[in-house]
C-alpha cells in the first residue's frame, strides 16, 4: 500500500464482496447514475434559443475558427438533471455537520445570496463611471469600516481574492516597506512555525523570501526559546507569519512578546487570520501588534465555499504598512461640494505623503459578490451577534473536546479555541489510522474532520464545529465518533472498508497521480484500463 507525502494510504484495501441488489440502469433508488456530458450530449444539441443573426457581416480578419470545438450540448431538461443528479453525490453544510478544522464551515444564510443577486450589485460593471455605482462603492466603504473596527487596524486592502491572495498582499506590503527602508535585499528571512498552513511558506517563497521554520513547543504554541534563537542575528529578518488562533486551535499566549521581539528585530508581523472566527469581538489583532492579516470572508463571515471557492481575503494593515497597500484604493472626492466615492487606480491619485503602493494584485477591485454577502451577514449579526458567534464557536469546540477526550487523545491539555485537535495516540499504533476513522464518519452521515494537519501532531484530527451547530447535532456527532473510536481502538478491521454507504467506495489516488487522466477522451479511461 503506497504512501503519499503525508504518510496516509492512498490505495484502498481490497474490497470485501457485498451482496447488493444489482440494477440494469446502474442507478440505485434515488441515487442516480450520471455519465459525463461528453457521453450524453451532442454537438448539434443546445439548451439555449437565440435570435437568428441578421445579415452576413464579418470583421474577423483571417481568424475565423475553422472547426467547432467539439463541445457537447444538452437541452435544458437534460442539463438540469445532469447537475441535480450530480449534486446529490455531494455532502454539504446544509446536510450536516462539516467539522473541517481550519475551514470554518458555518451556515451560509440565504439572505446573503438574495442580496448578492440584486441587479444593483450583480449587474453592474467594474469600469462604469464611478458616479453610476455609488451604492456599490458604499458597500465597500461600509465593509471596510466593519473590518477595520473589528480588527483595530489602520486600513484594509480589499482586492485579495482569497486567503492565500491576502497573504500575498500582506507579504508584498512588507516587502515594499523593506524596499522603502532600502533593506529589501538584506532582509529576506521569514519565520514560519512548523504548524503553519501550507499557503504560508508558499506565499513567503512567492514573494522572494526565504522560509525559516520555528519549532512548536510541547503545549502546541510557538517555542519562544527557539523563536528567540532565530532572532539571535536579526539583520536578515523580514518578519514572521503566525496564525492566531493557531492551527492547533490554540491562542498564541506569547503573541505580544513575539510581536515586540519581531519589531525590535526590524521585522514585521504577518498574522494568518483564517481562524479569526474564534476571537471576533473578544480581541482585536491590532491590539496584539499585528502588521498585516488576511480575513477569509468565506470562513469568518459566512460567504459560501462553493466547492472550493470563490473566496475573498481582504487584508487589514497597520499604520506601518498602510502606505504600501496595493491599488486600487477607495477614496473620497469632495471636489464640487458633493461627496463622491472614487477608486484611486494609480499612485498619483493617492492622497497623503509617502504613499508607495506595492502594485496591483488583480484586475478591478475585488470580490464584490462576497463583499455584499459578508456585509449582509455583519449587519444581521451586529457587533453583539458576532461576539456571541465567536463565543459559541469556541464553546462548541470545547464541548466536543470534552465529550471526545474520554476515548480519544487530545493533542494538548486545556481548553481549545474554535477547534479541537486530537492525535492518533489512542490507537496505540494498531493498524487502524486516522484515515479509517475519517472514512467511517462518512457512513455515519458526517463529513470527516481535517486529517493529518497540522503536521506537528501525529495522525492529526482537527475538529471545528463552528457556532452554527446545535447541541443536538454535536451530540449526534460525538456519539458517532466515539463509537468509531471504540471500534478503532479494538482495531475493528471493517473500518478499513469504510465508507460502505457513500456513493463511492475509497478511490485510488495513487493511480490517479501515476497515470493522470485530466480531460475526457473516448480512448483513455482507467476504468477500461482496469478492465484490461
Amino acid at each position: 500500500m503506497s504512501m503519499n507525502a503525508q504518510g496516509r494510504p492512498t490505495s484502498p484495501a481490497t474490497l470485501a464482496a457485498s451482496g447488493d441488489v444489482q440494477t440494469t440502469t446502474g442507478s440505485r433508488g434515488l441515487q442516480q447514475r450520471e455519465d459525463l456530458i461528453f457521453e450524453i450530449g451532442s454537438v448539434d444539441k443546445t439548451g439555449v434559443d437565440l435570435p437568428m443573426p441578421k445579415g452576413r457581416k464579418s470583421r474577423l480578419g483571417t481568424l475565423k475558427r475553422k472547426s467547432g470545438a467539439g463541445l457537447p450540448g444538452l437541452a435544458e431538461p437534460e442539463t438540469m438533471r445532469h447537475y441535480v443528479r450530480l449534486s446529490q453525490k455531494n455532502y454539504a453544510i446544509d446536510l450536516g455537520l462539516f467539522p473541517l478544522g481550519s475551514c470554518t464551515m458555518k451556515h451560509n444564510p440565504r439572505l446573503n445570496e438574495r442580496m448578492a443577486r440584486l441587479p444593483g450589485f450583480a449587474d453592474v460593471h467594474p469600469l462604469q463611471p464611478e458616479t453610476s455605482v455609488q451604492g456599490a462603492m458604499d458597500v465597500i466603504e461600509e465593509l471596510e469600516d466593519w473590518l477595520i473596527k473589528l480588527t483595530g487596524m489602520t486600513s484594509v486592502a480589499m482586492s485579495p481574492k482569497a486567503g492565500a491572495h491576502g497573504e500575498l498582499c500582506g507579504m508584498l506590503a512588507i516587502r515594499e516597506a523593506l524596499i522603502a527602508r532600502g533593506e529589501a535585499d538584506v532582509r529576506t528571512r521569514v519565520l514560519v512555525p512548523e504548524s503553519a498552513h501550507g499557503t504560508n511558506p508558499a506565499t513567503a517563497i512567492q514573494c522572494g523570501f526565504k522560509v525559516d521554520e520555528i519549532a512548536a513547543a510541547p503545549d502546541g504554541r510557538v517555542d519562544l526559546e527557539n523563536f528567540k534563537e532565530k532572532l539571535a542575528d536579526p539583520s536578515d529578518i523580514a518578519g514572521i507569519m503566525l496564525t492566531n488562533p493557531n492551527t492547533c486551535g490554540l491562542f498564541e499566549r506569547d503573541i505580544k512578546e513575539i510581536a515586540d521581539l519581531i519589531h525590535d528585530a526590524g521585522g514585521y508581523f504577518y498574522c494568518d487570520g483564517a481562524n479569526f472566527n474564534a476571537i471576533v469581538g473578544r480581541v482585536r489583532p491590532g491590539d496584539l501588534g499585528v502588521d498585516a492579516m488576511h480575513i477569509n470572508l468565506h470562513k469568518t463571515f459566512s460567504t459560501p465555499h462553493g466547492g472550493g471557492g470563490p473566496g475573498s481575503g481582504p487584508t487589514v494593515l497597520s499604520a506601518a504598512l498602510t502606505p504600501y497597500a496595493p491599488l486600487p484604493q477607495l477614496a473620497v472626492d469632495n471636489s464640487g461640494g458633493t461627496r463622491t466615492l472614487v477608486f484611486a487606480e494609480h499612485a498619483e491619485q493617492l492622497a497623503g505623503a509617502g504613499r508607495q503602493p506595492f502594485g496591483r494584485l488583480c484586475a478591478f477591485h475585488g470580490q464584490m459578490g462576497m463583499f455584499v454577502r459578508a456585509l449582509t451577514y455583519m449587519l444581521s449579526h451586529g457587533a453583539d451577534g458576532l461576539k456571541q458567534a465567536a463565543e459559541d464557536a469556541v464553546l462548541n469546540a470545547n464541548y466536543l473536546q470534552a465529550r471526545l477526550k474520554t476515548t480519544m487523545s487530545p493533542a494538548f491539555d486545556g481548553y481549545c479555541m474554535h477547534e479541537a485537535l486530537f492525535s492518533d495516540a489512542f490507537l496505540n499504533g494498531n493498524e487502524i489510522e486516522t484515515l479509517d476513522i475519517a472514512k467511517a464518519l462518512i457512513d455515519e452521515g458526517f463529513h470527516p474532520m481535517t486529517m493529518y494537519f497540522p503536521l506537528v501532531v501525529h495522525g492529526a484530527m482537527l475538529i471545528e464545529p463552528t457556532e452554527t451547530e446545535s447541541r443536538r447535532e454535536l451530540d449526534r456527532f460525538a456519539d458517532a465518533l466515539l463509537s468509531i473510536a471504540e471500534r478503532a481502538r479494538r482495531a475493528d478491521p471493517s473500518l478499513k472498508q469504510a465508507p460502505m454507504l457513500a456513493p463511492m467506495r475509497r478511490l485510488d489516488e495513487t493511480q490517479a497521480a501515476r497515470r493522470p487522466v485530466l480531460t475526457w477522451s473516448p480512448s483513455v479511461s482507467p476504468v477500461r484500463r482496469a478492465a484490461e
Binding site: 443546445t46 463541445l71 450530480l86 453592474v124 463611471p129 505580544k256 457587533a383 481548553y415
Partner: protein
C-alpha cells in the same frame, strides 16, 4: 440571533459538561491588556432580515445597472445573458455549501463537474490540459508568467502593448517580487505584433492578448513561432472567452499557456468579481502548472470516479516547494461556467458568438458614421476602439448624462499612453439595435 442554534440553557449545560465557569475561561490565554471588555464601538447591533434587506436594497438601488438602457462597457468584463437554470444549479445546497472536494467519496458531484470543466476548457482553447480554475483572468496571467519561468528556467517576461493594463500590473507585481524582469511594450491598438522583434534568448515567455484590450484581433502564429525560435513560450491571454465560438483557438496558433477570463460564460458582472480564471497548457508542462487538477480514477469496487490529483505541486502538500500558493479558487464560478457551456454546446456557443460579432459590427458602422469619429480596430470580435476629437473621458461623462454608458476611456486604464481620445466600446447579444442608435445619436450630439 437567528443563525445561532444554542439556547441560553444549552450554553449553561455545555459549560457544565466542559467544566468551565464561563466562556471567559476559554480566552484566558489572551493578554489581559488586549481583552475587550464591551462590544466593539461604532458598530450596530444585530438586525432582522427585513431591516438588513431594506438597507442593502437601498444601496443597490443607487447603482445604474447594465440592463438599464444603452450599455457598452467591456475591457475585460462583459454583459451577457445567463440562463436562469444556471443560477438555479449553482444555488443547490450541495454545490453552494460544500468545501473543496478533499473527500472524494462524498464529493463526486463537485469532482465530476470539475473534470468536465477542465475538458471543456481544453476543447475550447484547443489545448491539451486545463486546471480547475484560478481566481480570475489576471491572476491566471500572472501565474502563467511564473510557470513559463519555471519551465524555461529563465527570468524575463515580455508583455504586449495590447495586454489589459490590469493584467500587466498584476503580472508585474508578482513577477518582480519573485525577481523576474518584466518588459512592457508600449500600448498600441495592434500592440501584439511588436513582440515578434522584442523576444530574445533571455525571454521566458511573451504574453499576448487576442482580442486585445482595444478589441483588436491578432494572428498569434507568427508570434508563437518567433517565441519558440528563441526558446520562449507564448502565453495567450483572452478576456472575452465567448470569442472562441467564432475565432481561431490559441492551441491552433501555437500557444503554450492560455490564461483567460471565463466571466462571460455563466457569470454576472458583479462589479468586478467573483470571476473565474481559466488556465490551460501542454500536457508535458502540467507538473509545473499552478492550481488544482481533477483526475479520473477508480474506486475500490472498480467504478469510475474522480479525485483531486498531482497535489504534490500544491501548497498543502509541497508547502515552500509548491508551484503556487493558491488554495481556494473560483469553485462555484467554474460550475456556472461549465453548466452554461453545457447548455450552449458548440451549436449555441458559435451562434452566441455570431450575435456578439454582428452587434459589434453594427456598432462600428453606426459610430463610424458619426462625424469626427474614427474606428481604430480593423479586425475585432465584440469590442472596438474609436478615436474622437474630444478627450475620451469627457465623452464618456457626456454620454452618461444622456443615459448611455458608452464604454471605457483608454486613458482610464493607460493614463500616460497618449491615447487620451480613444474610447473602447463593447457590444454583446444583449445589445439591441435601438441601443446602438441611441449611442450613435448621443455621440453625435456630444461631438457637435
Amino acid at each position: 440571533m437567528r443563525y445561532l442554534p444554542l439556547t441560553p440553557e444549552d450554553r449553561a449545560d455545555m459549560l457544565h459538561v466542559v467544566g468551565a465557569e464561563s466562556v471567559d475561561s476559554f480566552y484566558e490565554d489572551v493578554p489581559k491588556s488586549a481583552r475587550l471588555k464591551a462590544t466593539i464601538e461604532g458598530l450596530p447591533d444585530h438586525q432582522g432580515e427585513l431591516a438588513v434587506e431594506r438597507h442593502m436594497s437601498r444601496l443597490a438601488a443607487k447603482n445604474r445597472t447594465a440592463s438599464d438602457g444603452a450599455f457598452f462597457v467591456g475591457c475585460g468584463a462583459y454583459k451577457h445573458h445567463v440562463p436562469a437554470s444556471v443560477d438555479h444549479i449553482i444555488q443547490r445546497s450541495e454545490f453552494l455549501t460544500t468545501y473543496t472536494p478533499y473527500q472524494p467519496e462524498i464529493a463526486q458531484g463537485t469532482l465530476q463537474t470539475l473534470f468536465e470543466f477542465q475538458t471543456q476548457v481544453a476543447m475550447l482553447t484547443d489545448m491539451e490540459v486545463a486546471n480547475a480554475s484560478m481566481y480570475d483572468g489576471s491572476t491566471a496571467c500572472a501565474e502563467g508568467a511564473l510557470m513559463a519561468c519555471r519551465v524555461t528556467r529563465r527570468k524575463k517576461v515580455m508583455l504586449s502593448g495590447g495586454l489589459h493594463p490590469h493584467y500587466a500590473d498584476a503580472t508585474r507585481t508578482l513577477c518582480e517580487a519573485a525577481g523576474i524582469e518584466v518588459v512592457q511594450l508600449t500600448p498600441a491598438i495592434d500592440g501584439e505584433r511588436a513582440l515578434i522583434d522584442a523576444v530574445d534568448e533571455e525571454t521566458a515567455c511573451v504574453i499576448a492578448q487576442s482580442p486585445n484590450v482595444f478589441g483588436q484581433l491578432t494572428d498569434l502564429s507568427p508570434i508563437a513561432d518567433a517565441a519558440h525560435d528563441k526558446g520562449a513560450l507564448l502565453v495567450d491571454v483572452i478576456t472575452e472567452i465567448v470569442s472562441l465560438g467564432l475565432v481561431a483557438p490559441p492551441g491552433e496558433m501555437g500557444a503554450d499557456i492560455v490564461a483567460a477570463e471565463g466571466q462571460s460564460i455563466g457569470n454576472s458582472l458583479n462589479f468586478g468579481g467573483p470571476y473565474v480564471g481559466l488556465f490551460a497548457c501542454r500536457q508535458k508542462h502540467v507538473r509545473q502548472a499552478p492550481g488544482r487538477l481533477c483526475g479520473e480514477t477508480v474506486d475500490a469496487s472498480g467504478a469510475r470516479g474522480f479525485v483531486l490529483t498531482l497535489s504534490t505541486r500544491e501548497q498543502h502538500i509541497r508547502r515552500d516547494k509548491a508551484t503556487s500558493n493558491i488554495c481556494t479558487n473560483a469553485g462555484l464560478c467554474t460550475l456556472a461556467f461549465t453548466a452554461h457551456l453545457t447548455l450552449l454546446g458548440d451549436k449555441g456557443l458559435s451562434h452566441l458568438a455570431e450575435l456578439n460579432h454582428e452587434a459589434a459590427c453594427d456598432l462600428a458602422d453606426a459610430l463610424g458614421a458619426v462625424k469626427g469619429v474614427e474606428i481604430l480596430t480593423d479586425a475585432y470580435f465584440n469590442e472596438i476602439s474609436y478615436k474622437t476629437p474630444k478627450p475620451a473621458h469627457e465623452v464618456i461623462v457626456a454620454l452618461e448624462a444622456k443615459g448611455v454608458l458608452g464604454g471605457v476611456a483608454a486613458s482610464r486604464l493607460m493614463p500616460d499612453a497618449g491615447l487620451d481620445n480613444v474610447v473602447i466600446a463593447a457590444a454583446t447579444e444583449c445589445t439591441t439595435d435601438e441601443d446602438i442608435q441611441t449611442y450613435a445619436q448621443a455621440l453625435t450630439e456630444v461631438l457637435a
